[in-house]
Symmetry: C2
Subunit: 325 residues, 2 copies
Amino acid sequence: MITIKDVAREAGVSVATVSRVLNENGYVGEETKKKVLKAMNSLNYSPNEVARSLYKRESKLIGLLLPDITNPFFPQLARGIEDTVNQSGYRLLLGNSDEELEKELDYIQTFVQNNVVGMISATNHVDQNIYDALQIPLVLLDRTTDQYPSVYSDGREGGRLAARTLVDKGARRVTLMKGPAHVKPAQDRFKGAVDVLSDADIDFSVLATTSYSFEDAKGWAEELFQKYPNTDGVIASNDIVGIAIIHEALRLGKRIPEDLQIIGYDDIPQSSLSYPPLSTIRQPAYEMGQAAAELLLQTIKKEPGIETKIEMPVEFIERDTTRKE
Amino acid sequence: MITIKDVAREAGVSVATVSRVLNENGYVGEETKKKVLKAMNSLNYSPNEVARSLYKRESKLIGLLLPDITNPFFPQLARGIEDTVNQSGYRLLLGNSDEELEKELDYIQTFVQNNVVGMISATNHVDQNIYDALQIPLVLLDRTTDQYPSVYSDGREGGRLAARTLVDKGARRVTLMKGPAHVKPAQDRFKGAVDVLSDADIDFSVLATTSYSFEDAKGWAEELFQKYPNTDGVIASNDIVGIAIIHEALRLGKRIPEDLQIIGYDDIPQSSLSYPPLSTIRQPAYEMGQAAAELLLQTIKKEPGIETKIEMPVEFIERDTTRKE
């Protein structure tokens, strides 16, 4: 085993000097420091995981920042990431931002303090330049921007697909639910759906919502039928809201899909367990997590020619809340 | 600022010796090591976060090992833990074991390598002594044993409560679903339910299941009605399975709760969104996470007189899959 003494001999310096470099403690000239680091490299000096992180600034930790793991879309993403980074020996530091800027900043800081070698973030605050000072690889997940490598699904097409499907299947009084304004992918799909509905020769209404929480989903469903009792096609803001709408419609005595068609978004595992099972637009959450992890690992390893914008396909999953013909 | 030289002087040893202690590299006698550690302590020597973790074995990281974050019971637990440890400046390293012993061992090892100061584990393998060598505080979550501090809900009472409720509400041909054999809390609630059903003057059948996955839930529901088509009361192994049973029963034309009563377990957020909304036995998942985090932090801080067995109450949540009278 290579020891600190070997490094000192190779570098032509004292053990104390090597120690100072290792511990970043006390003065060491730039030239000397280089010599020590070179000696460590050439000897493949490897005291232990933690000590190594001291001078190489390398650890096996990756920071993962999500809005909220209790939103059923995100556990799938997280598993896709974890399963992938695990295979390369990396571990995940997990944080939930609750979409709050302050929490997000706090997590970024402590991730860096804990020497993460890279970070994956599903943030809505990238425009506020809070990642600009970050010195480590970053991959944005479920979000896109020109500034950073990112993995996302095609929200605009997802919205178009949802609207086109309902129109093609005969809905004539469509209600389009608009997801929370600060969630960018929700706005992409909203715009995609508006594109298609505007071009179609049908009436449509927009219901703005401000959250995806379970607690609020029932409230949106009730509001929907109070405001638009005669709607015959609902594009839900996500699957959870879609499931709440199914049950409110049944409570009101509507027949699904004869009187009312409903289409969700995400394809969370629960959506196939609703009654009737929810037709939806699938985002491949697990695969998106895998792709983000692979992209981050490639970036960490500085592999050449990396594709840094990965757009994942969306697809219509036909179940029983849309008409079959 | 205190340097490595000051520590060497205080301990009466060479800088190289202090370095060896810091890097755990090369031979240092036990007595000498103690002197160095004592000197570091008395001087409050603090090079930097990582170097400190080298000799104090202290970081601000806590390891969290869950079976599977995509099981909707666990995100709530995880948030309870995260929100609590965050307030004390700690961060979570997350791992999913998939109930596999090898994955669990691998995570324990890498958590330790990353210098976690404590660990919370929802393990089913504690009997295999895999935690015996662990030198850091451990709290078991959703599991109990005499060996370690633990936070769990009263599964036996939960099972009794589910059975008592169905019997009291008039079910006479009860089907009791038995959760996966390796999941200990599932067995506790199973036994509790058997206790009550055995004492009651009614017929009952047991359907053994081997998983909690979404993919399998529908299959269990189908099997249930194939084997016991005349059952009028189902104690589901958890809420996901309970929701699948609701929908299979509706598909078969059964009236709920007139023909068939169903009671779930957990009270995951989705259970109030099923149609009809699922009556269930609530485990306070978020609060269990909070309690486990608090217990771990108290243990890390070596607070005196800690209550190390924390049993959380379960309660019946009445919704629309059980009769009202």
